[in-house]
């Protein structure tokens, strides 16, 4: 089956193949894969793909769900216009 165009991270257009390469390259966490491939670094901040990446890590026998870490969330957790931040009340 042709898996080449199976996108995992839609925002950054990262494919399953790229995620699997990152794992073969020694990345064992969602954060590690994110830094290596940019999966989860786009506008939605990994809201859909992080769970898929966890599933791939599990399928590959790299990590159990039980000792899976979620990526560190940072403010703002959703996209915010710069205008909204600069107009912040005292």
């Amino acid at each position: 089956m042709d898996k080449i165009n199976e996108i995992i991270c839609r925002c950054e257009e990262i494919t399953r193949e790229e995620i699997e390469e990152a794992i073969a390259d020694g990345r064992t966490t969602v954060s590690g894969i994110k830094r290596h491939t940019r999966a989860g670094m786009g506008a939605c901040q990994g809201r859909t793909c992080s769970k898929m990446i966890m599933r791939i890590l599990q399928q590959k026998g790299v990590r159990n769900m039980k000792d899976m870490d979620i990526d560190t969330p940072r403010t703002p957790i959703v996209p915010v216009k710069v205008e909204s931040i600069t107009s912040e009340e005292g």
């Binding site: 089956m1 042709d2 898996k3 165009n5 199976e6 996108i7 995992i8 839609r10 399953r16 809201r47 859909t48 769970k51 898929m52 966890m54 769900m65 039980k66 000792d67 899976m68 979620i70 560190t72 969330p73 940072r74 403010t75 703002p76 957790i77 959703v78 915010v80 216009k81 205008e83 909204s84 931040i85 107009s87 912040e88 009340e89 005292g90």
Partner: protein, 361 residues
């Protein structure tokens, strides 16, 4: 900087339950919701709930939502809509994007009732227009009166997959069938029965392996899976559909909890990562309570009662109410136990007991 005694993030059944109980005891409550209307998923629930009368058996979800909203507003709960919590600051204040303006809210106690998000699964073609989550299709049909497609394949037979399939059939869509990766239907028999009686096939031990189409979904390829859930070659079957809906579970929205330092655990039965909490819904951060789907994906009635518990506990901590609150909390915990019965509930109860046993701060 705005101030609140109790800030509740998320106005679905859990957040509304928390707001109502805390306000009843006299606490000053601010309730946020990112949507234009409060009520969370209740406003999409056009089916009748079942269970006991205490848990709104026989009442449709959106009617429960209307009742709770009215009760909260009668009690003087301040509701901020189009208000999305975007971060937790180190000093405990919450950054909120309210109608495009960033505001800060400082609260003595915070109740996180942020809910859950829908999972997706990937397969070649899943990014084509026409593939979406079941909940999105339900929002389109039940809130906006729009059918997302004519010929539909549903992926997943949990209650979301079953209920949304039936509602789309009622709305005039042709549901071509449902696939379920495990060997049996995973939702309630009462919902599956309605679909089966209408003659719609449910293919168990099957999954979708590809979506095909030029500019949008034109057909879905499904296949039988082996005991390791891998597609079996030669069992592929092509189904002409314009829409593939994914009803493959939910994940608690824990970003704010993690940012506030709440310790997380993992319970796949309850949706994955979620904050530890005790039987009064307190997280490992003394000022933060969690309730509803963020504390483990369950149902609207459990969310409502967990919310009530969180609201009572937070208000009591601030000195509101008297000893009778403890009695009320015991009743609610007993009610939650009763809701977690049967084949489906027992597994959730087991997880909840483990989470509470491991909780400490």
């Amino acid at each position: 900087m705005r101030k609140a005694e109790i800030l509740i993030i998320g106005a679905g059944p859990a957040g509304l339950g928390a707001a109502i109980e805390a306000a009843k005891l006299g606490a000053k409550v601010v309730l946020l919701d990112e949507n234009e209307k409060a009520g969370g998923q209740l406003f999409k629930q056009i089916h009748k709930f079942f269970g006991s009368k205490q848990h709104y058996a026989g009442v449709r979800g959106f009617q429960i939502g209307e009742d709770l909203l009215k009760e909260a507003s009668d009690l003087g709960v301040e509701v901020l809509l189009d208000a999305r919590a975007v971060g937790m600051m180190d000093d405990g204040t919450v950054a909120v994007l309210h109608k495009e303006e960033l505001i800060q809210i400082a609260a003595k106690k915070i109740v996180l009732a942020t809910g859950a998000r829908e999972n997706a699964i990937s397969f070649p073609g899943w990014t084509l227009p026409g593939v979406m989550t079941a909940g999105a299709a339900q929002t389109f049909s039940n809130v906006h009166g729009t059918l997302v497609g004519k010929n539909i394949l549903m992926v997943g037979t949990g209650n979301v997959g079953l209920i949304v399939s039936y509602q789309l059939m009622q709305a005039g869509a042709n549901v071509k069938g449902l696939v379920e990766v495990i060997p049996r239907v995973s939702g309630y028999g009462v919902h599956a029965g309605k679909i089966k009686r209408a003659g719609v096939p449910i293919w168990t031990s099957h999954t979708v392996i590809e979506a095909r189409g030029k500019d949008r979904v034109e057909e879905a390829v499904i296949a039988q899976v082996d005991e390791k859930f891998q597609p079996i070659a030669g069992t592929e079957r092509v189904i002409k559909v314009d829409t593939i809906l994914l009803a493959v579970g939910l994940t608690p929205k824990v970003e704010l909890a993690k940012m506030a330092g709440c310790a997380l655990t993992v319970e796949p039965t309850l949706g994955g990562h979620l904050p530890y909490h005790n039987d009064e819904m307190r997280s490992t951060n003394a000022n933060i309570y969690v309730c509803g789907d963020i504390a483990g994906v369950e149902e609207a009635n459990t969310a409502l009662d967990e919310g009530r518990l969180a609201g009572l506990s937070a208000a009591r901590e601030l000195g509101y109410g008297d000893d009778s609150v403890e009695e009320k909390k015991m009743e609610l915990n007993a009610g939650l136990c009763a809701l977690r019965m049967g084949t489906f509930g027992e597994k959730r109860l087991e997880c909840k007991e483990r989470i509470m046993k491991e909780w400490s701060w």
